[in-house]
Structures are given as C-alpha cells and as structure tokens.
C-alpha cells in the first residue's frame, strides 16, 4: 500500500466536491480514474499530490523506506495536469527545474536530454527551445519529461492526452508505462479513454459527483427521467428507444449498471418488431445497439464488449469462455443488452 485515504471530505466554499470514506492504492500499480467532468477526478489527484490539503480526513503516503507521512511525498510524488504550466524559460530550464529544487544539480543537461528522449523529443532540437516555440503536444511532453527526470515513486496524470495530437498521446502513454515497468512507479491516471484504461490498468476507480461509484466499468445513464407511472421513470435514449426503469429517486438521478450484470444477445436482422426497451417489473430490460469492439481487461482477464447505442457507449463483461461455446461475437453486429431492472443502482 502506498496511499491510504480515510474519511476524506473536500470542500470549495460550501460545496463538498469529494467524499471518500476509505481508499487504498497499491504500490507499483496503475490505477485508472474515470468519471464525468466535475466528478472530482482532478481534485482527488491534487490531494494525492499534496498540493492542497483536504478539508477534512487524511491522506497518508507510505514511502518505501522511512516512516509513513507526507514529508517524503514532496520529492517522490509528482502531478502532471491537464494543461500543465511551462515556465517562461527554455525547455532545459523547465525539465531541470524539479532537480534544481531538490538541490540535485549534477549533469543536469544529460539527464534532461534522457528525459526528453523518453517522450520522443530529440534533445538536440529541443533543449534550447523557449516555451513559446512549442506546440501543445510538445509542451505536454516537455512537462511529462520534467516529471520523469525526477524518477518519481508516484506519477499522477490528469487526462494527460486530452488535448494533444495523436503522436504526442502515444508517446505520453508509452513513457508513463515505461516508468512503471522500469522503476516500478505507481501511476494514477484520470482519462476519458476507457478503452485504453481497461487495457493498461490494474484497477479502476469510478468517481461520480465526488463519490466512489465502483470499479470503473459501470455504465451510467444520466437523467432527466420522466415519471410515467407509479415509481416508473422513462428516458428516451439517443437513437429513439425508450428505457423505463423503476425506483429513480428523482428526475435528475443517474442510473448505474455494472458491466457484469449486462448480458449480450444477438439480434436477428429481420426481427425488427422486437419490443421496446421497457419491461419494468418482469425483471429484464433490453437495449438494442451495435457491438463496437471487444477488449481484454488487463486486471481480471475478462473480455469487455463495448456497445454503441446512438452515440452513448455501454460496456458489458463477457464471462470467461465456459468451454461450451466461445462467444460468437464480433464488432459490427447488432446486439441486445439485457439486464434485470433490480440490478440498477441509483445515484442522486
């Protein structure tokens, strides 16, 4: 265990943005952080980086050697923000800044050059460049190099590839994974790219409105819900299907469905008279969609199926092949997601 979070409450003004009763993060692992914008991902990362203290509760950092506490975290934990700030100096000065802060000024240039190579920037071309001579993707890579040069024990990444070009995104991902592989750096990464997270992460944390909502793959159906009967709530999905579910606490609630509760079934192309996605009390709801892709989940060895309904994506776990029949699914098929209504968890 490298982090222990207990009884955490974080407030901005009167609004509580984060509320985590207990959370642990294991050493040397890659942990994914997902959730919609404003769910508290960035806040959690800033707290884990100790750049601001929590309003209440505690976050304990356990260094490999020495006592538990937050003193060592200063030089062992580093955070790369979504739009990191580059100092108005040269690339070299930016990459070397953290080392200078540590009073560790031996062969600065050589180490900075190495770090730049990690993120795919040729040092000879970049070391002397000034901050305004970089593209967005290059700036982000320089910022990552400035963290990697420190050989951090923990690397916190806040949507590091959200606003960069494809090549930069690829380089950033590779460099981060390499740090974990070579130095055993613990990585906590927030991203909207679920697909990638499922591939690389050892564990996932799903944040919703500042609370831990599960292990990451949960499907979310946002409101507004229209009340259409005694405790029955309807939502028209993007492609026109209507989903009716019981038990919503209010019109703006969010419905959460764990992926292992979703079963996948083929839809025959000609049976277009299938019933709508509403079957409240008989237990089974159905949503029709198109199978987009299949991903092997790194953590559990499951196969995850991503299904598009309109433009929303749903994730279902296919059970490990049970010998009888290997799942005859492939991307592009029309499929139906089937789940029991009572497995829906509500979030207000």
């Amino acid at each position: 265990m490298i982090y222990l979070v207990e009884g955490l409450r974080h407030r901005y003004g009167t609004q509580t943005v984060l509320r985590l009763d207990r959370l642990t993060i294991e050493r040397h692992k890659i942990v994914g952080l997902i959730g919609p914008n404003g769910s508290g991902k960035s806040t959690l990362l800033r707290l884990l980086a100790f750049v601001e203290p929590p309003s209440r509760g505690r976050i304990v950092y356990y260094p490999e050697e020495g006592n538990a506490g937050n003193e060592d975290a200063r030089f062992q934990v580093t955070l790369l923000g979504q739009e990191p700030y580059l100092l108005k100096r040269t690339v070299l000065a930016n990459v070397a800044y953290g080392l200078k802060v540590r009073g560790d000024t031996e062969s600065l240039e050589k180490r900075a050059a190495e770090a730049l190579e990690w993120v795919g920037l040729p040092p000879r071309a970049f070391l002397r460049r000034r901050w305004f001579e970089l593209s967005g993707g290059e700036a982000q890579r320089v910022a990552l190099a400035a963290r990697l040069v420190l050989r951090p024990k923990v690397l916190l990444l806040d949507e590091p590839t959200a606003s960069v070009d494809m090549e930069s995104a690829q380089r950033i991902r590779e460099a981060a994974l390499r740090a974990q592989r070579e130095w055993g750096t613990t990585i906590v990464v927030a991203s909207h790219d679920r697909h990638w997270l499922f591939e690389v992460c050892d564990g996932m944390l799903h944040l919703l409105k500042g609370r831990l909502a599960g292990t990451g793959a949960e499907n979310i159906i946002l409101g507004p819900w229209r009340q259409c009967g005694q405790d029955l709530w309807a939502k028209r999905l993007e492609d026109g299907q209507e989903l009716v579910l019981p038990g919503a606490p209010g019109p703006n609630a969010m419905a959460l469905i764990p992926p292992d509760r979703l079963a996948l079934e083929h839809v025959l192309e000609d049976s277009s008279d299938s019933s709508p996605a509403s079957a409240p009390y008989d237990g089974a709801c159905r949503i029709a969609g198109t199978l987009l892709r299949l991903t092997l989940e790194r953590a559990g060895g499951h196969i995850l199926a991503t299904v598009a309904v309109g433009r929303s994506l749903f994730t279902a776990t296919l059970p490990p092949s049970r010998g009888l029949r290997p799942a005859p699914f492939y991307p592009g098929q029309r499929v139906e997601l089937i789940f029991p209504a009572h497995d829906v968890a509500w979030f207000s």
Partner: protein, 229 residues
C-alpha cells in the same frame, strides 16, 4: 512659448556646462530615489506576492487599504513623516528631519502601495496551474516565491517603473521633510518648484527636462534588461 525654447537651451547648458547646483540636485535625487526604491521593492515585492498568492481572512480588506493608499497625497505623507521625525515627534531623537534619509522614508511610503498593488495584480494574473506545477515538482516557500516573481517579471518591472515615476516626480515629501536645503536636500523637483516660485520659468523648464532625461535613461536601461530576460 519662449520659456520652452529657452528652457531647452538652458537644459543643455546645465548638463553640458556642468552646473554644480544642478548636479548636486541630480545627485540628491538619484541617491534618495535609489534608497526609496530599494526599500519599497524589498518590502513590496514579497508583500505583493503574499497578497496576490495566498488566501487569508481579511485579504479583501487589506487589498482595499492598499488600493486606497495608491491615492495617498504626497503632502499628507510629508506631514505624516514630519510628525514622526520632527524633534518633538516620536523619532525626533534620530535627527532625521531635513536629511535625504527622511525624504527616502517618505518616498518609500509613497512607492510601497504601488509596488504591492501592482505586484499582487501581476501574481494574481499568473496561470493558476503555475502554483500546482511548482508544488508538484517539489518547490516550497521561497522557491515558489522566487519562481512566481520571475514568471511575473514583466508585471513586477512595470510595478517598479510606475513606483519610480511617482518617487521621481513627487514634490510634497521632499519639500516638507527635506526642506529644499541647497547642496544638501534640494532635489530636482524641489528645485523646479523653487525656480518656478521665483519666476525663473525657463530654469524650471530646463530642470524639468533634465528630470525627464533621467527618467528616460532609467526606462531605456530597464527596457534593455527586459529584452535580455
């Protein structure tokens, strides 16, 4: 209009001909403003940083007070300092009245709010991500302070120049606590006031032009420095 051309010619005479009275006033002006600028920058930049960077209770009240002090009339500062350094004032024992040091103290009070307010504004307008970046790279305390000030250097230089403009041109403080004593506490501005009072308008214009020349030299040197940074 004659005053202006005559003043211009006289200004050249003063500078080229080495008019000792003028040079004494220039020296006093430069000495006194250097002291007051050094003091107000050393005190003002860190205070401005704290005001712009930190959140604390009563910050807005402090900000309002500082902003109000921007409008501090120099005559009032002069009276205030006089009240303290007069022989019968609380600091009378120091014998500061009618010395360049007393002027420097007054000018420091004049420049300090300018430096604090403008530095705070410069620090406030820095990217919020700067703080997070610096902290997450391990910087603390003085390192954050110095790096932030360096990042806001253009704003801080502007603050210093604005403050310098004020101390260089003020008359009220120099007159009140300096006393405009020839060879001793006569500054460029009190000399201008004196000459104008005597009706020597051309001389007043000439001295004013010399003062402008000093300001010009200071600004040009800083502009060159700024380009390098």
């Amino acid at each position: 209009m004659d005053y202006l051309t005559e003043g211009f010619i006289k200004a050249l005479h003063l500078l080229v001909g080495g008019h000792p009275e003028t040079f004494s006033a220039i020296e006093t002006t430069l000495t006194v403003t250097s002291w007051s600028m050094a003091a107000s920058l050393i005190l003002g930049i860190p205070s401005g940083f704290l005001l712009g960077y930190r959140d604390f209770r009563g910050k807005r009240a402090v900000r309002t007070v500082v902003d109000t002090c921007l409008a501090f009339p120099t005559v009032l500062i002069g009276l205030l300092v006089y009240a303290f350094v007069s022989r019968r004032g609380p600091l009378g024992e120091l014998g500061l009245l009618f010395t360049p040091a007393a002027i420097a103290v007054g000018q420091t009070i004049l420049a300090l709010p300018v430096v604090i307010a403008l530095t705070a504004t410069a620090i406030e307008s820095l990217d919020r991500q700067l703080r997070i970046s610096l902290l997450s790279l391990g910087a603390r305390g003085r390192q954050v302070l110095l790096t932030s000030i360096w990042e806001a250097r253009h704003g801080v230089i502007a603050a210093a120049l604005t403050a310098y403009g004020r101390v260089l041109t003020e008359v009220g403080i120099s007159m009140m606590v300096g006393g405009n004593i020839k060879w001793h506490t006569r500054t460029m501005t009190t000399a201008i006031a004196l000459e104008t009072g005597k009706g020597e308008f051309a001389m007043g214009v000439a001295l004013g032009l010399v003062l402008m020349a000093i300001a010009f030299v200071v600004n040009v040197s800083l502009a060159i420095l700024r380009k390098r940074a």
